[in-house]
Amino acid sequence: MIPFIKKRPPFSLKRQPGFGLIAGLCFVMLYAPIITLVVYSFNAGKYISPWEGFSLQWYVAAWGNEAVQDATMRSLFLAVQAGIYSTVLATMAALGTTRTRPFRGLMAIYAMINQPLMVPEIVTAVALLILFAMIKSLTGIQGMFYLVIAHTAFCIPFAYLPIRARLEGMDLNLETAAADLYATPWKTFWRVTLPLLFPGIIAGSMLAFVISLDDVVITEFIKSSGQETLPTYMLGQLRRVVTPEINAISTVLLGLSISVVCLLFFVERRSRK
């Protein structure tokens, strides 16, 4: 018989007792509520719980709900516009603030661009509510314009970060080489800088899109009547008796955000190889 030898695991420098367990719990904690939410969106019952069998009826209900359709279209319209505008503005700003010797006011520009990240959303929301109410009462102009500009503004820092990171990682010599090979500054930009910057621009615009799509607070404050987006519609619904229809809408919205972020992750991974 082979004598039983208790094998001790080799000493690991990096191990800290209990850390793996806590980390595991964190990951479970992060995903369990989301998974629960998704599971109950398939509940056949009239209320979220108890579970009364599998059904797609709440998806059908949400699909047929005119208010939901309306809010979805508005959310997408808003997110696409804010995504495009903020990306264009952020790209220009990133070109103006990276790879340059520090100049007077550079720090002020940084502070200004990152300002929406520092001020609590509720404060910005209130401020915009006041400003837009003033403009509306003075000029009488209504419309989506207010939401678009507000969303564009708070999306700028999110679009700016990946574009700036990409620019800073870019080899300055490439543009020097283009100039050496007789390219004018304009041609250098179109043929060398922009193509190399493209992954950053894609990442920035996707982040901006997701951030705009998910915004509740600012939209809730500045929307006029009849300007519900999907998140504000849901916030309104939460005051009432909630049915699994909300779960169904949430699941779809979650799916959209997660697929955008996943896409981003894999694009990033491929471009790094």
Partner: protein, 309 residues
């Protein structure tokens, strides 16, 4: 032989035109931000010094009533002035819950970040990705998900009842506890990310050196790892504390209007309360608290970076 000319310095001219180009490129973004983000903050400050209109809005008359009302309460019938208990309770709740949330996310986030940082390099980005995915999904939906878990008919209560541990559901929803759980849940990624960033840079040969000099695991953690990742700890704490302080959606959904935080109190003044100046004054107060926290952060990081290198 030609004499080299010492005309106007072409180098500094070029530098100047480059600076102008940089400003021109940044200008459109700055204009939009000034119009729809930073600029309006000034209007809030102005509004906090106006009188309230009868049906919302303001009357353009200078008044410090709003600021007075932040701290004191004047009875409309007998005119006596008392401390505004309700406001103080809400302010205190905001600070307290934000602080506790920060501590819990730190306690949970530190091991998690360490766990990710010690995975093999090629797996790390995947683990990190798992942390960031919830962050990029809708805050409202995540709060709603927590609501479903902790409500009386939710997963926890039903589970405990089925197991026979309790016979009556525990009321968790609409309590401070609910808000705290919700904020911990939604802001945890904000703690993990900066912690991970500083742990990834950690030079593990320092850990080896500590073990070599007879340190225990516990000592290595306390004397080597924690001091070295301190910038990450500070950054993570600030990143969690600030949005917690200004939280609006989470306390509204999980506190259900009974347990308000500053954000909800501000909303109340612009809605049913119809006291815009008071709402503006409260907003400025919140902004001041956040700025104070940020300033403290900048101070400590500067001191920290100054002492290390």
């Amino acid at each position: 032989m030609r004499i080299p000319k010492a005309a106007s310095n072409p180098v500094s001219d070029m530098q100047r035109s480059r600076t102008r180009k940089n400003w021109l490129l940044s200008a459109p973004a700055l204009v939009v931000l000034a119009a729809a983000s930073s600029g309006p903050l000034l209007i809030v400050l102005v509004y906090s010094f106006l009188s309230a209109g009868e049906y919302g809005g303001v009357v353009w008359k200078f008044s410090t009533d709003a600021w007075f009302n932040v701290v004191f309460f004047r009875d409309i019938f007998d005119g006596t002035t008392t401390f505004a208990d309700a406001h103080m309770t809400i302010l205190w709740r905001s600070v307290r819950l934000s602080f506790i949330t920060t501590l819990i996310t730190l306690a949970a986030g530190f091991p998690t970040a360490y766990f990710i940082a010690t995975r093999p390099r090629r797996n790390r980005s995947l683990w990190l990705f798992l942390i960031t995915v919830p962050f990029w999904t809708n805050l409202l939906i995540r709060t709603f998900a927590i609501l479903e878990v902790i409500r009386n008919e939710g997963l926890i209560n039903i589970g405990l009842q089925t197991l026979g541990i309790i016979d009556k559901p525990i009321q968790m929803l609409y309590t401070d506890f609910a808000i705290m759980v919700g904020m911990t849940y939604v802001y945890l990624p904000l703690m993990v990310l900066p912690l991970y960033a500083s742990m990834e840079r950690l030079n593990f040969s320092l850990v080896e050196a500590a073990y070599d000099l007879y340190a225990t695991r516990h000592k290595v953690l306390h004397r080597i790892i924690i001091p070295l990742v301190k910038p990450g700890i500070i950054a993570g704490s600030i990143l969690v504390f600030i949005p917690s302080l200004g939280a609006f959606v989470t306390p509204r959904v999980l506190g259900g209007g009974k347990k308000m935080m500053l954000g909800n109190l501000i909303e109340l003044q612009f809605g049913a309360g119809r006291n815009w100046p008071l709402g503006a004054a409260l907003s400025v107060t919140l902004l001041a608290l956040v700025m104070a926290a940020l300033l403290m952060y900048v101070r400590t990081t500067q001191r920290h970076s100054g002492s290390v290198r």
